[in-house]
Symmetry: C2
Subunit: 395 residues, 2 copies
Amino acid sequence: MAHINSNYLNIKESYLFSEVAKRANAYKAEHPEADVIRLGIGDVTRPLCPTVIDALHEGVDAMAATETFKGYGPEQGYDFIKESLKAYYAEKGVDLDKDEIFISDGAKSDLGNILDIFSKDNLVLVPDPVYPVYVDTNTMDGREIAYLEANEANGFLPMPNYDIKADLIYLCSPNNPTGAVYNREQLAEWVKYANDNNSVIFFDAAYECFVSDPSLPRSIYEIEGAKTCAIEFCSFSKTAGFTGTRCGYTVVPFDLIRDDCVVNKFWLRRQTTKFNGVSYITQKGAAAVFTEEGKKQIAENIDYYKQNAKTITETLDRLGIWYCGGKHSPYIWFKCPDNMGSWEFFDALLEKANVVGTPGEGFGENGKGYFRLTSFSTHENTIEAMKRFEKAFSK
Amino acid sequence: MAHINSNYLNIKESYLFSEVAKRANAYKAEHPEADVIRLGIGDVTRPLCPTVIDALHEGVDAMAATETFKGYGPEQGYDFIKESLKAYYAEKGVDLDKDEIFISDGAKSDLGNILDIFSKDNLVLVPDPVYPVYVDTNTMDGREIAYLEANEANGFLPMPNYDIKADLIYLCSPNNPTGAVYNREQLAEWVKYANDNNSVIFFDAAYECFVSDPSLPRSIYEIEGAKTCAIEFCSFSKTAGFTGTRCGYTVVPFDLIRDDCVVNKFWLRRQTTKFNGVSYITQKGAAAVFTEEGKKQIAENIDYYKQNAKTITETLDRLGIWYCGGKHSPYIWFKCPDNMGSWEFFDALLEKANVVGTPGEGFGENGKGYFRLTSFSTHENTIEAMKRFEKAFSK
């Protein structure tokens, strides 16, 4: 008699995005003439940049001839892209060995899969509000989860509590959903805590490319001591619009040792056994992101989204609404006006301004009374949406 | 203090392919003039077919313009490719719902990941010799493994033993490494066993496209009752040369229920939480395999490899060497001449014929004294290699 993994029965169903869609569609059905603008979307909308497109075509052409055809590649990624990433980290002052870098089909996959190499009896520490995948993947494994309170008082950047002896710690900076960014000193406190407790930090850097202040860390390895306590996850999704093209990378330093085992070797073993590498074509496209031309082109896309973020934060500034994010992040997280609840404000924004966003309480208890807007729409729609927002909620 | 998953310490290091490479390279270094031919390779060598190349280019072009750009797709795959696969199964007389089909980045990933949704205390049944991934992925989870004896007496097609109450059963047909194929009656016995015991069969159909005898099953769902006891894994790797392009699919029928849970929903939950779907570009290319033109072109490639298999089996026939596989499989598995051991024969073949193959004992205890050759080389090299083989080992 085969038995299922009963931990799956403990996963809370998230109705967040389906409920958002349901309410938006219902409104649209009742008001077919309404021009509803969606600023809730967490997906990029701008096409891949020309340099990446060219490289993808080259990759496809290589597959068309016997001489250049690529079969199985290294599970951990081709050297050409690992070398590009090594150079990308060097620009941030981080020196990595290329074999500390693993190419994957996306940060989401690796953030879940990394748990394979850790024991089930580790205590997990997760911020609230949070990207739901951290909680769900650990629930699937039956691990105990403690929550870090992120709130207005700490700027949604919770700091270590030495009373909790956490084993595995999730940090996401710039944060999804709040857009908040840890500074160097704050991250150094986390690194100290992790080294003191022999914990491991899972650092989700998926939004690092939105950081424009050079004093803010874009990699946890910019902090001294991080290589003995942190694994970093990153992605081409938001950097270069790869949400539908699928490529990410994970850094597991050689100096990270737990139970006398080199964690890098465990991850290599996991990947060579349960993964077969990313498409050669995709890796060709992703490597092009790091050419001079590629860097220039992706910067234009990121600037485009940041202009939208500015449109949103300037409106909130004028209205005197508390928010975080938006400066170094595509996400803007704000307190609902007039002490409304998240869903109450969702309905009000939809009815009064025909704008769809995401209720903060969908990301955790501490998201109650907060709301998330994203900068991934067009300039035109973002400007129009925020005009309506301002009109609807000005005093 | 973070702890690692100590089950990883129980994985046996496989030195098979590194030892093969080491011995071949040493020989080459000592005999630089030798024209060494490699028939050990398990990877395809022929380029992607033109129809697939065109579709991949189209996919890339779609990513270049805002109007056609694709961001996050459905984790379980786009409907267009699931509909193509539904039609492909219909050709085999198998009626599937499109939501029973999940698109993945390859069978290897899913064969490992499927274990996430099953309890650790299931007893696993694995044939010996076997593709090492089945054993390693279960060892990583700490599951107990029992072995099915595959040998010359049963044609390397072991049948159910009702004394063992197995929960999870791996069957691979056409088999890697032996090339043996279960017939309908044999597979029906396995389906009966699994339904009788409420076990789940993991059916690895990665080599199904090599089956040319219409009386042999290419999908386990051709067997009545399989939908209540089997999950099928398949891939474009060997069908269409996607080993470096990465696309596979997994079928989880709605009728498969264990512990009162619909296993399909568990897998959907696993995939939406820990996976973000396959690249749109790749899915476009894979779907082109099922066009009329695509089918014709991939058939030519498969025929090319089968011609090599025939070259190999005809030589073995002339030498009177026992073998299986090669008819409906790219693999030929034979008894080493003169009762040599696997590695002894490896060295003899390399020295006498300058041909590299794979020692059977690398796939398990029952592989001792056996040897694997593959049909993925060129016609010219395969013909030359088998000429030398025949000369070296004829009586």
